[in-house]
């Protein structure tokens, strides 16, 4: 008999941490701006998951309402970020993030 493993909040926290680490790691090692962008999204969603988990654990709806804000901010960020990336890739289809270093001091 397989004992059903009880899914505790810790699982969600670990999942969030793992997702965040993947996102951060991907952001650091990949050069494709689109992939880097998706990594950022992954990190955002990892944080969102953590918020919801804590909200459930502490029985405080504050964490869940934060999620709504994060979604809105993420949406706005997607609009701006994607626009920049599309404009960049249209000009130079094989551009990497390291090629756009014009803002060097």
């Amino acid at each position: 008999m397989i004992t059903a493993l009880e899914v505790t909040p810790a699982w969600y926290l670990v999942l969030g941490a793992v997702l965040f680490s993947i996102g951060a790691f991907g952001l650091l090692i990949r050069r494709n701006p689109l992939v880097m962008f998706m990594c950022v999204e992954l990190m955002l969603n990892a944080v969102t998951l953590t918020f919801v988990t804590f909200s459930r654990m502490l029985e405080d709806t504050g964490g869940q309402s934060i999620v709504v804000f994060v979604l809105v901010v993420a949406a706005a960020e997607v609009v701006v970020g994607l626009a920049i990336i599309v404009a960049l890739l249209r000009k130079r289809p094989d551009a990497t993030a390291d090629d756009v270093a014009l803002l060097e001091g």
């Binding site: 952001l27 650091l28 050069r31 390291d98 060097e104 001091g105």
Partner: protein, 660 residues
């Protein structure tokens, strides 16, 4: 009738504004007539207020009219308000009265000057400022007028500014006055800090509750201001140079009105002087006495017709401070009024002479002018006898009052002050007689080839290098070589005649014979009150003192007659006197030498230390920025790494501090 007090300064102000806008349009002489009309209207308003005040009972003779709140800041409240009391109305009467006459005279004197309207703009502004000074009911408003007359003095001294010397004289007057104004300002600050008010009447009431040292400091600082404005030692050096201005300016500002502002201020704040320590009045008396004597001796050896009068003014102002110092405020004001009459008369007479002989100011090139300028000569002689102290002219009465007060003041000090005053009176009679003889009597030295009288030969060598800040200016319109000296037009002689009548009978203001004839003393009683010196001297002593004073005057006149008219003795005019004891040169040398070097040092400190510190900070910031900017590589992933590293570090820090 008292409500008309605001009109007194408002009319010259209106004249100033009108002339500022329409002056060029009115031109010569229209602008002059407008200015004269405004000054005269102001005089009428003053007379109206005077009679209003006269109608009040003696103890009610002060009227305050608040026009509006000027500076309301926290506890500080300064109103634009006028205080009409016997003192301020006395001042306003002779400021506007003598001022109107001088305005009238100036129409003739300034005729043909390209800047004719501008002259009258300044003149009306001056009258307005002087009236604000006199009528203001608080120290700040008085200070406004004080600075206003200073600015007008500057404008008018350097009126013919295209000549470098005139512009320099204006600057000198302005800067020297700043030293005095510094004292005045500190006095205002101290009065407000200590008493919480700058209003005269409130301040006088508050003095009782203040520490004696505070009141003394306020009085002493106000005296510093008075020393600057009234040209007393050591700040008198600007007044002789101020003669560079047109002669009506010398008469109005530098003889009759502005320079007496210091005496007025001391009289106005007599409760403060009385409440402080005794050394302040003593210092005032000694400053006045020494100034009177020193300036009189300098006047002996001056050859510029206006410089003699300038040093004479300094000397007479010294008399007034001597009177203020011994507590004889009435005598000071009395002498101020008579001095306004006879000194304005003398200056205007000198202007008429300068006008008549074609812009010549050197008395060595005059002589025998009484035949050519009879009215000027006659009126000038009245002024001469008046200032010399010959009875029954006005100068005798007022000067005698001061000498009597000095004699009657307590202690041996009073006798010494009296002696100094007497010697000064003798010298005054001497140098004024010298001037009259050199200008109106003797040889006609203005003719070609007779430029220098032999009698002057020794003084000449010393006098030549002296800075001749001459008021004569080629651009003033009535220049040019005249064939013969001529009498001035009626518009200039009429004020001379009026002033000579005033200088003759002015003594009637305060005759010493009976109590009833002390008109000025009873009139000023509410202002000076119990602070006035009580003269407790027998009639015999009074008569004796008067006789001695008259004898001194006659000796002075007689000596001058011997030397300059009869030529029985050689003139003694040492170079040290012609150079005014080299005081001016010493000041110049000091400022030019160590003074300039110390200012250079300050400038170096500013350029290298102060600016160095400021620029050094900028250099450090710029250098740090130059090094730090390499961090901004432009690589997004480097930034991300930086952020990630930062997060890890922060997290690590918190983890080490965590406690379970």
């Amino acid at each position: 009738m008292l409500d008309a007090v605001w009109l007194i300064p408002a009319l010259p102000l209106a004249g100033f504004v009108l002339l500022l806008v329409f002056g060029r349009l009115l031109g010569d002489p229209g602008a002059g007539w407008l200015a004269t009309a405004m000054a005269a209207a102001s005089f009428v308003a003053t007379v109206v207020v005077f009679f209003g005040l006269l109608g009040e009972a003696e103890e009610d003779r002060h009227f305050v009219q608040i026009l509006f709140e000027w500076i309301p800041v926290g506890d500080l409240r300064v109103d634009v308000g006028f205080l009409a009391d016997p003192l301020s109305i006395t001042m306003a009467l002779f400021v506007t009265g003598v001022g109107s006459l001088i305005h009238l005279y100036a129409i003739g004197y300034m005729h043909g000057d390209p800047d004719f309207p501008k002259f009258f703009v300044y003149m009306n502004l001056f009258i307005f400022s002087m009236l604000m000074l006199v009528l203001g009911n608080n120290l700040v408003l008085t200070f406004l007028g004080w600075e206003g007359v200073g600015a007008c003095s500057y404008f008018l001294v350097s009126f013919w500014f295209t000549d470098e010397a005139n512009a320099a004289a204006g600057k000198k007057a302005f800067i020297t006055n700043r030293i005095g104004d510094w004292g005045f300002m500190l006095a205002i600050f101290l009065a407000f800090a200590a008493a919480g008010t700058v209003d005269y009447l409130e301040l006088f009431q508050a003095t009782e509750g203040l520490a004696a040292v505070t009141v003394t400091a306020i009085g002493a600082l106000l005296f510093v201001g008075a020393v600057g404005k009234s040209a007393q030692i050591p700040l008198y050096i600007w007044l002789p140079d101020a003669m560079a201005g047109p002669t009506p300016v010398s008469a109005l500002i530098h003889a009759a009105t502005m320079v007496t502002a210091g005496v007025f201020l001391m009289t106005r704040v007599n409760p403060i002087l009385a409440a402080g320590y005794d050394w302040v009045p003593d210092v005032i008396a000694w400053t006045g006495a020494i100034t009177a004597l020193v300036a009189a001796t300098i006047a002996i050896a001056q050859n510029d017709i206006k410089k003699v009068l300038a040093y004479s003014t300094v000397s007479q102002l010294g008399y007034m401070f001597l009177a203020v110092g011994v507590g004889a405020y009435v005598a000071a004001i009395f002498h101020m009024v008579t001095h306004a009459f006879f000194k304005a008369l003398l200056f205007l007479g000198a202007g008429s002479v300068i006008h008549g002989v074609g812009d010549e100011q050197d008395m060595r090139r005059m002589g025998g002018l009484r035949k050519y300028m009879p009215i000027t000569a006659a009126t000038f002689i009245v002024g001469w006898l008046s200032i010399a102290g010959v009875p029954p002219l006005s100068g005798f009465w007022s000067k005698d009052e001061i000498l009597l007060s000095a004699w009657a003041s307590p202690g041996a000090q009073g006798k010494v002050l009296w002696a100094i005053g007497l010697v000064t009176a003798l010298i005054t009679a001497f140098y004024m007689s010298r001037q009259v003889y050199l200008v109106f009597f003797g040889d006609e030295r203005w003719k070609e080839g007779e430029e220098h009288a032999p009698i002057e030969a020794e003084a000449e060598a010393g006098a030549e290098p002296a800075p001749e800040a001459a008021g004569a200016n080629p651009g003033d319109g009535h220049g040019g070589v005249h064939g013969e000296p001529h009498e001035s037009p009626w518009i200039m002689t009429l004020p001379l005649v009026v002033l000579s009548v005033l200088a003759f009978v002015g003594g009637g203001l305060n005759l010493p014979f009976t109590e009833d004839m002390h008109f000025l003393q009873r009139w000023l009683e509410p202002v000076v009150g119990e602070n006035e010196l009580h003269i407790d001297v027998s009639t015999a002593t009074k008569v004796g003192l008067a006789v001695v004073a008259v004898l001194a005057a006659l000796v002075g006149i007689g000596a001058a007659t011997m030397v300059y008219l009869r030529r029985r003795a050689r003139a003694v005019e040492p170079a040290v006197l012609a150079h005014a004891y080299y005081f001016d040169e010493t000041v110049s040398a000091f400022v030019a030498g160590p003074g300039t070097r110390s200012f250079d040092a300050v400038a170096w400190f500013d350029a290298h230390i102060i600016d160095g510190a400021v620029n050094g900070v900028a250099h450090v910031v710029a250098g740090a920025g130059r090094r730090l900017r390499s961090v901004q590589s432009g690589f997004v992933r480097s930034y991300a790494l930086g952020v990630a590293t930062g997060v890890v570090v922060v997290l690590g820090y918190f983890l080490t501090r965590i406690t379970f």
